[in-house]
């Protein structure tokens, strides 16, 4: 698409949407949100950028292939699920740090699970969307 409005807007929307996606990710434990929605919002940010500026531009901006995020995300989620097993708790038990951390709030294994989901969702949806919008 070659409209100047979208092009200009996407330049500002990309960081804004990414920031918003992280906000949604962090707020997700008790309130609506979480890794899945956050990941989708982040993916939308890149897709919008790709619409406005063309796919090669966005791919250059991302530096890595989005598919590469999937094993990372899966690894983070799996490790966060397995971490309680080190403390002799069942798989996936929520382990929380006692004192809350500024900005983030209470820090626990559930947060890392969500971060993993976030990365997997970005990776998977961008891989799919980039593959089908690639022109050859």
């Amino acid at each position: 698409m070659n409209t100047i409005i979208l092009k200009t807007a996407s330049k500002y929307l990309l960081p804004l949407l990414l920031l918003f996606s992280i906000f949604v990710l962090l707020r997700g434990h008790y309130l609506p949100g979480g890794g899945f929605v956050g990941g989708l919002i982040a993916a939308i940010a890149f897709v919008l950028h790709a619409f406005a500026n063309g796919l090669p531009h966005t791919q250059r901006l991302m530096r890595i292939h989005p598919g590469f995020l999937m094993p990372f995300g899966l690894a983070i989620s799996t490790i966060s699920g397995m971490f309680p097993m080190l403390l002799n708790q069942p798989f996936m038990t929520g382990v929380w740090k006692k004192d809350p951390v500024p900005v983030i709030g209470s820090l626990g294994s559930a947060l890392f699970f969500d971060i993993g989901v976030y990365l997997v969702v970005i990776g998977a949806s961008l891989t799919i969307l980039f593959t089908i919008s690639e022109t050859r």
């Binding site: 598919g67 999937m70 690894a75 799996t78 397995m82 069942p90 798989f91 996936m92």
Partner: protein, 507 residues
């Protein structure tokens, strides 16, 4: 004491898959990791199975949420044995695919997906919650969609469409059944559902849910009227893929049926009657279908249908002897069917075709190999000392106890027809002279393979043949295990107590 071992057969394939994904483009390293990952999973499964054979039912409340509310993983002797056999079959298929799967398929993620498939299989055997079971079914079918379409040959895609459509339909029906149960009883935990169903009075709707589950699992396990997708798709992917499909995917449906009809819907003469009719029809129709086929893998596909019938017959009779026979048949069938499909792949590698009219001369050229194949193929029939004989004996004994002439006739007819089908393969592929060897030789890559690769292809077939011999020759030990399984699943209270009386020490 928390039984972490219950979760390892699910987690280890996941971890291997993640490691494999980090090496996405390095298919050589992937092949090593595949064997290593499957090997470790096999060890963990072996450990789990040995723990369950002491008679305990191990449970693990995921996330420390106690049983009727949280997700619980349960390993009784049946789950333990099936996890062990699934991991063993997957290990062998992994070894087999290390050589037989080409660069093209490997670069699109064949090896990680194989691990995800194993994770789904082990997960569904260990799930103690019916919705969790559904989720593991989804993991299985998504992975199997990828495996069956990988390579995008025309025949493959045609088979895949039938496979995907029928399996999605089955999932929808299964999910509807779950929704009805949840709406009626407000629980998803299998043990809790079992208690609630036994106290409930609203039998009409519960029977409807039971029939929905029966149809859903019936499509997945390819029993009589719902089987046609299986022979239309299983012969299309590479031999390694059809081996794991043929050996394990239908058996998950059978396992789910055993679980549901031994724990939830017990002593319902209506459902038992349906099961027996379906079982006898599957046995006979499947075996008759096998007779007219010319493609080895299609013959095996039809034999799967026929042999699923044997297990369902055991479930339909549901006496202790019938359950022993059914469980033994399940164990034997996983090993032998996986082996049969791998053998068909090896025959292709040696002789350049899957079609009987283009095959021949195996025995003349490879006498020792042929004897090994004969052991595998004839244990499929149930020739006495081999593994297929004992479960059929138990099933026959059970049907004589019930004086159910339909099952007796079905078992005997299906066994004879299977024998004829196997003899047909034997005559055409092994004893007949090769009709056109000079032409077929162009397609044969076997002679160019280095020795280590030939060994890697032969090893899994040898392992499975050995296991099948072990099942047949050391049947007394296997029957002991089957007896334990039968005791556990004919008394649902044992399972229920183990799951619900496991308080979680909340911090």
């Amino acid at each position: 004491m928390i039984a972490h071992v219950v979760i390892w057969p699910i987690l280890l394939p996941l971890v291997s898959a993640i490691v494999l994904m980090f090496f996405w483009n390095q298919s050589k390293i992937q092949r090593y990791i595949t064997v290593l990952g499957h090997g470790i999973t096999l060890l963990a499964s072996f450990w789990l199975a040995m723990r369950t054979y002491s008679g305990d039912i191990l449970t693990l409340n995921a996330g420390s949420w106690s049983a009727p509310y949280g997700i619980v993983f349960v390993a009784d002797a049946l789950s333990g044995s099936l996890v062990l056999l699934a991991s063993l079959a997957a290990f062998c298929v992994g070894l087999f695919s290390v050589v037989s799967i080409g660069q093209g398929r490997a670069s699109f993620g064949y090896f990680p997906i194989l691990q995800f498939l194993l994770m789904g299989l082990n997960g569904s055997f260990l799930a103690g919650d019916i919705f969790n079971l559904y989720v593991w079914f989804e993991v299985i079918i998504i992975s199997s969609f990828v495996l069956i379409t990988l390579g995008s040959e025309k025949a493959q895609l045609e088979g895949a469409i039938k496979y995907v459509t029928m399996n999605l339909l089955a999932s929808v029906i299964f999910l509807t059944g779950i929704a009805m149960l949840y709406g009626l009883l407000g629980s998803l935990n299998l043990a809790d559902l079992s208690l609630k169903i036994s106290q409930s009075e609203d039998n009409g709707l519960i029977n409807t849910a039971a029939v929905l589950l029966l149809v859903g699992f019936g499509i997945k396990s390819a029993i009589f009227p719902m089987y046609f997708w299986l022979p239309a798709s299983y012969h299309t992917p590479p031999a390694a893929v059809s081996a794991i499909f043929g050996g394990l995917l239908t058996k998950v449906g059978v396992y789910a049926m055993i679980r549901v009809f031994s724990l939830l819907f017990i002593d319902d003469p209506f459902i038992r009657g349906i099961l027996i009719v379906l079982a006898v029809s599957s046995m006979v129709v499947g075996a008759m279908g096998a007779l007219v086929q010319q493609n080895i893998r299609k013959i095996f596909s039809f034999l799967i249908i026929s042999h699923i019938g044997f297990m369902i017959a055991g479930l339909g009779m549901f006496s202790t002897i019938a359950v022993i026979g059914m469980v033994f048949y399940l164990f034997h069938d996983i090993i032998v069917k996986t082996n049969a499909f791998m053998i068909s792949g090896l025959i292709y590698k040696l002789r350049g075709s899957f079609r009987l009219e283009n095959l021949g001369g195996m025995y003349n050229r490879y006498p020792y190999l042929s004897i090994m194949f004969a052991l595998a193929l004839f244990s499929l029939v149930g020739t006495p000392p081999l593994s297929g004989f004992w479960p059929k004996l138990f099933l026959l004994k059970a049907s004589f106890n019930d004086l159910n002439w339909w099952i007796i006739g079905g078992i005997i007819a299906a066994s004879f027809l299977t024998l004829i089908a196997i003899i047909k393969i034997w005559l055409a592929a092994f004893w007949k002279k090769h009709p056109n060897y000079a032409e077929a030789k162009k397609r044969i890559v076997w002679y160019d393979l280095p020795k280590i690769q030939k060994f890697t292809i032969l090893l899994p077939i040898a392992i499975l043949t050995f296991v099948s011999l072990y099942l047949g020759l050391n049947a007394s030990r296997v029957v002991e295990i089957c007896q334990l399984v039968a005791d556990q699943i004919t008394q649902p209270s044992v399972y229920i107590d183990a799951v619900l009386s496991n308080p979680v020490n909340q911090p």
